[in-house]
Every structure is written in C-alpha cells, then in structure tokens.
C-alpha cells in the first residue's frame, strides 16, 4: 500500500468515526445544531482548596437557595470523605457545613449548581414589605448611641418621606466624603464596604424602613474567579429598592443576607476559594440536560459537560486551537504565506483573546517595533545571544507595565488584560524578525511579520467564532475530522498561490 492510499484511508476512517459520533448525537440524541439564543441561565461553582493541617475540620459556606425570586437547580456536591450537613433554617441564607475529623494534606470541596439570575425589577420577598417600628439601635456604647440618634434625627428632619430619607442616608454614607458622624459609627470589625452597608441598614431599620445587606455575585460574563459583591435592599414608600455601591449590575444573584463571612472555617489554612460563573446558552443547556438524562449512555464521554466549570472554560479555548491550526496550515500550504516560526501565529492569535483583535494588533505591532529598535541598539554593544534575548524580554516587560499604567489612567480595560500577553512569544518574534532583517532584508522581515499578523488575525477570528466554539465544545469528535483534513493537506503537491506570482516568468501564454 503506498503512502497516498494509506493517508487517504486513514483520513477516511477518521472522518467516518468523527461524523458518525456527530450524527448519532444529532439524530439519536437531538443535540441542537446552533448555539441558540442566550438565556439567563448560569453555571455556578464554588471551589475550595485548602490545607487541613491534619486536624479536625469544620467548614461552613453559604450556598445559593431557592426563593420566590431565585432558582437553583441541578445541585451537585463533591464532598470527598467529608460529612455534609445543610442548614436551611437560618434567615440569612442556606449553609453547607462540611466536617471531617481525621483529614490529611490538601483537600478539595466543590459545589455546583445552575442558577437563574435576578434583575433590578425582581421583587423583594413579602417579608420585606412590612413596615417596622422605629427603634433605637442596640449598642452598649452610650456615646455611639447618642451620635447615632443625633445624626438620624438630623437626617429625618432634612428629608420629606422614607424614600428621600433613604437617599440622604446613602448619599452621606457612600457619596459624600468624610462625614464625621459616618466615620465615627462605622464598625471597626467589618471590612469597609460591608460596614458602610451595615450602617445604612441600621439607620434605615431604626427609622422603620425594612432594609438588609445582600451578598452575592454579578452575572455579567464568564469568570473563573468571580468576586463576591455586597449591596443593600430596602423597601420604602411602597417600592422595592436596591443600592449597589459602584456600578449597577444588569443581572445578579443573591447568595446570602447579613454581614457574616461567606466562608467560616476552623482548622484549615491556605484556603484557595474560586467562585466561577459561566453563562449557559439555551442550546448548551439542552445538551447538558440531555447528557444528564442519558446518564450511562456512551455519548456523555464525547463531551466536556461533566468536567468542573473551571476546567470546562479552559477546554472551551483549547478545542478551538486545532481549528486555528487548520487555518494556519491552509494559509501556509495553499496560499504560501510566510510567517515567523511555525505555530507562533496561532499562539499570537490566542493572545489576541485577551486583548481583542484591534487592540491586539496595535499592541503587537507597537511592542515588536519597540523591541526591534532595542534589539538593533544592543547590536552595537556586541552582546552574547542569550543575555541579549534576556535584555529584550526585560524591556518588553517594562513596555507592558507602562502600557498598563497608561491604559488604566485613561480608563481602558485592556491595560489589565495585556498582562497575560505572552511576552516570550513576543521576544522570540523580535529575535527571529531581526535575524531575517539582517540576513535577508527589511522587506523580507516586514513581509514575514505581516504574514504572521495576518495568520494570527485569521486564527483569532476563527477560534473566537461563536459557531466554531459551540461546535468544537459540544462535538469534540469533530477533532478527528480536522485531523483527517490535516492529513490530506499533507499530501498536497500542487502549486501555492504565492508560487503563481513567483514563477510568473515561466507562464508562456502570450
């Protein structure tokens, strides 16, 4: 069997396997073929990784709970050897209590659920709509009580009704700076943001306005480390109000109320807490439900839905890389684009994910130009190769730090994201480009640099295409088909597009 037939048979085999799994999923298990519209469903995960110090451990954490306005479904606990008790009685929220008497080394606990978020128009529960008696605050410190009463009486006098009173309270606590009464009354034991919310709550409830501190997450975009936010809910003059310090989120989810800590633990150290969220497309949700329903069927092995969300997010990126590489192979073998390094353009394309395309191209070009300038300057000092490369790396880091500073001053968000821009790739690109520059010509160097940029952009566009992401993530068996295409392209002996230009002189048509 010659190698051509061999390759074709292998490619055929891979395609058949890949497409049959794909077809089975679509026909037999009704996997949807399009991403579908976005819904307000989110995958939520709490991931706790900690050192047990070999002593008994008790770890409590608030977890999302169902209420009139919030929905939690498909809850899963990954306890390992730990005992789990759920405390649902507390008014502040549902608590998961993990305990274990003889642990050793590091342990991991996980909680997963699917959430339906809340918005500003979500009503507060009925219990919040009962007007309270005005009451003096409970505090043992007479001086504080005095200050509190004077301040709240003053606020009451300056307001017309409950709503304007609440506005005034929030204004003085959060917006106006250095209001002496506020500074004096803030609880020293709580973190600043929460103590302000707690003070606002105390003033409002003392004035008979139902109020409480709410804690939870903002559902804005997929995050591997979502922040816990705190805000105030109150009911004034027959309407629900929420006050978010900072920017108002469009969608959020309340996990617990009050000023308790999210995690309370005994006997552990070095806790790594990750709260991750990921929006679930309607169709993806269907897929996941289908997988859950067909538990035990073979199809669940051809997907990532059973992995932890943090891992899923990583795989969502990884499975698109072969598509970018397919693009690169095509551009090199059929078009004949010249690039610096073999897979470097795809790596640059991945880096563009952090910066978005236009910013990425600008940054890439600017950093390469600066780096090249330094590289040529260093040439005059006649340094050895590795120390010279190292100098360029340090220079690139400095440039990136400066860019981050400039960007944050002008309020641009890309300043933060370029920190992940792989600078080693940049440095290698600079080094290769400068060698091409010296040994061939500036034209060649710029040509190859532009080629790399072009391939990187194409790879980026392909890899971030929602349809590509959807198909690769939910139908990873298509990787076999990509492999088959690569095999077949490996046997292409025809001319490249660039060769039609290069050898134009041999075109004897008149």
């Amino acid at each position: 069997m010659n190698s051509f037939t061999h390759t074709r048979l292998l490619a055929l085999l891979l395609t058949v396997i890949g497409l049959s799994i794909f077809a089975t999923k679509v026909v037999r298990y009704d996997y949807p073929l399009s991403p579908g519209a976005r819904t307000t469903t989110w995958d939520f995960e709490i991931y706790l990784d900690f050192d047990t110090n070999n002593q008994p451990v008790r770890l409590e954490t608030f977890i999302p709970s169902n209420s009139e306005s919030r929905r939690v479904s498909q809850e899963q606990f990954y306890n390992g050897a730990f005992g789990l008790r759920l405390d649902t009685k507390s008014a502040e929220g549902r608590t998961a209590i993990w305990t274990y008497r003889y642990p050793n080394d590091r342990k991991v606990l996980r909680y997963r659920a699917r959430l339906v978020g809340e918005t500003e128009s979500t009503p507060l529960p009925e219990g919040m709509h009962r007007k309270l008696q005005r009451a003096a605050p409970e505090t043992e410190n007479d001086l504080e009580r005095q200050a509190f009463l004077v301040w709240s009486t003053d606020l009451r006098r300056r307001s017309a009704d409950d709503e304007s009173l609440a506005d005034l309270v929030l204004q003085e606590i959060f917006v106006d700076e250095d209001v002496d009464e506020v500074e004096a009354l803030l609880s020293p034991t709580l973190p600043s943001s929460i103590s302000r919310l707690a003070l606002a709550r105390d003033v409002l409830t003392a004035q008979g306005i139902p109020a409480r501190v709410a804690n939870g997450i903002y559902l804005d975009q997929a995050r591997r480390r979502a922040e816990i936010h705190h805000w105030l809910e109150y009911y004034a003059d027959g309407a629900d109000h929420r006050y978010f310090p900072g920017l108002d989120p469009e969608e959020f989810f309340t996990i617990w109320h009050g000023t308790d800590d999210f995690i309370r633990a005994e006997g552990i150290s070095d806790l790594d807490l990750q709260v991750s969220i990921e929006p679930v497309n309607a169709a993806v949700a269907d897929v996941a439900q289908r997988v859950a329903r067909d538990e035990g069927s073979a199809m669940q092995w051809f997907g990532f839905n059973r992995l932890p969300i943090t891992t899923q997010l990583v795989y969502q990126v990884i499975v698109t890389i072969p598509v970018g590489i397919l693009m690169l192979v095509f551009l090199r073998q059929f078009i004949g684009l010249q690039t610096l390094g073999t897979f470097m353009p795809v790596l640059i394309g991945i880096a563009f994910r952090e910066t978005a395309l236009l910013n990425g191209i600008i940054l890439f070009t600017a950093l390469i130009a600066l780096g090249l300038a330094v590289r040529f300057y260093l040439e005059r000092l006649k340094l050895l190769l590795v120390p010279r490369l190292a100098t360029v790396v340090v220079f690139i880091v400095i440039c990136m730090a400066v860019v981050a500073q400039l960007m944050s001053n002008t309020g641009q968000r890309i300043g933060l994201s370029i920190s992940l821009f792989p600078m080693v790739i940049l440095t290698m690109t600079i080094e290769r480009m400068s060698i091409v520059w010296e040994e061939y010509s500036a034209t060649d160097a710029i040509k190859q640099g532009l080629g790399s940029l072009l391939v990187a952009s194409a790879a980026y566009l392909v890899m971030t295409n929602p349809t590509v992401e959807y198909f690769m993530f939910n139908f990873p068996e298509l990787l076999l088909v990509i492999m088959a295409i690569c095999l077949l392209m490996g046997k292409y002996t025809g001319l490249r597009l660039s060769e039609l230009i290069r050898f134009r002189e041999l075109d004897t048509r008149k």
Partner: protein
Amino acid sequence: MIGRYRALRRAGLLGINERNLRLVNELNPRRLIRLVDDKRETKRLAMAAGIPTPELYGVIANPFHMRHLESYLDKPDGVVIKPANGSQGNGIQVLMEPMRGGWRRSNGQRAMLEDIRFHVNNILSGMYSLSGQPDVAMFEYRVKFDEIFNPISFGGVPDIRIIVVRGIPAVAMVRLPTAESDGKANLHKGGVGVGLDLVTGKTLSGMQNGKTTDIHPDTANPLKNFSVPHWDAMLEMAAKAYDVTGLGYLGADIVLDKGKGPLLLELNARPGLAIQIANRIGIRPLLNATLEADTEGMDALARVELARKLYRQNVPEVV
C-alpha cells in the same frame, strides 16, 4: 489565476509542496540530512571520496579555542569564516587580506579583530545555525576565483549549483554576485542566476530577483554563451556527492579556483526552486524521467552520461 495555474503546470513547474513531499521527504532520510547540515562532516566525506574542497585552516568550537583566532586569521591570502551549521549562506564572512588594524572584507570595508571576535561569538551561540543550537566556526581557504566569469560578475565569488537527483545531475546554474548582493552569490540577496545547459556547460539566459534578464545588472554584459571550464569534472563531483552522502535530492555548490580547479563548497539537502526561473524551464518532466531511470550498478561517470541523455530528451535545446 486558474489560467496561470494551468499554464505553469503545463510548463512542468515544480512547486515547494511537491519538492518537499516527493524529493526531500522521499529521498532524503533525516539522519542523512545531518551529514550536510554540518559542513565539517561534508568536508570530511568529500575528502575521503577524493572530491576536492577548500582547505580547512581551523575550527573554533568553544570560547576556549578563541585564543587560536589570530593564528587562523594570519593568512596573507585571506580567509573565510563560516558557521558549520549555517544555512543559505547566512553568517559567512569573507576576509580578503590583512590590512592596517584589521582585515579587508570582500566589500572593501575594514573588519577589526573585535568585530571578528563578535562574529565568531555569534556563530558559537547559534545565531546562524538552523535551529538556534550552539554552533562551530570554521576557517577556510579563500577561493581565488577563475577570471572566466569576470565580465559577468561584480565582487565576490560566483558559484555553480548542480541539482542531483538519485545521483544523476539534473539541472544546473551559475550564481553570480552583484553590487546588490554585496558580493555574495545568493539569489535571495539579489545575486544573478544563469541557467546552464547540462550537456555542454554553456550559460543560457539568467534571472535576478525572480525576473528574467539577459545581461548582468552591473557590468551590462550579456550572460549567454560562456563555457564553464572543467564542466565534466564538476558533473562527476556532483554525482559522487550522492555516493558519499546517500542523499537522493541534493544541491552541490561548486566554486572554480584559479589554481586548484573546481572545489566543492557545500552540499544542500533542500535546494530551492529558483533554478527553474534561471533555466526558464519547469523541471517536472525531467524529474519524473530521472526518478524512473534505472541506475542499478552505475558509477558516477555512467550516471553523468545518463544525465546528459535524460536532459537532452526532456529539455528543449536552446540554440
């Protein structure tokens, strides 16, 4: 575009993809390519087989050897410094002769000892080697080229490239230095490539920077009808290079020294395709014939005869 594609295919043009698949991958096993990537190894093999090469004065393989540098450079006729694993002529420095405070380079500039030491350090650190691996600097006899090509070259050494397939010389060209190429005979630096009739060793028309030309850009003399001296010997050297390396697809680079005749400079396991423009032919038909030819039991001389026969059969004679 499609019309151009068809026309080029009809002209028998060989593309990079096909070269890589059918020639490099099929005929050049990786372990053999190593032999020619290291020029010291090539030189050793060639000498063992009686193929003449420029004399090796010495090698600097590590900074410790650097103390020999001045003795290697101390040659009244000049010296060539090259990386043992360099490619495409990168990192080669030609010193013509000693001059006050340094050495005169082929472009007339003066190189100081410090410049040369820096260059050798760059070579050692792998700047010019194929994969950035640490490399070795070689110091060689500087070829005093035959004056036959003087009317059609400008500074530097012209060389002859013969592509050999399965030990059968297939196509050849002369590469001429120009002002643009800084005295180097590399085509991608602006050197002129002139096709050679494989049977007679006579020059045909030429090309520079991918465009055909009939005159040398600097001297304005016509490129046609120069006879390369020692042509038979060169063909035999090229054919023998196959016997010593086992590479089924190779480019032999030969220079013509005034006193010593043809010398093998280096062998290339992935020779480029610009030779087709220089010869104004597509080489696929010739290549197919060469790939199918029966060479059982033939020595280098017999393969040269076969080469001439195949060439005449597959390439139209230019009158």
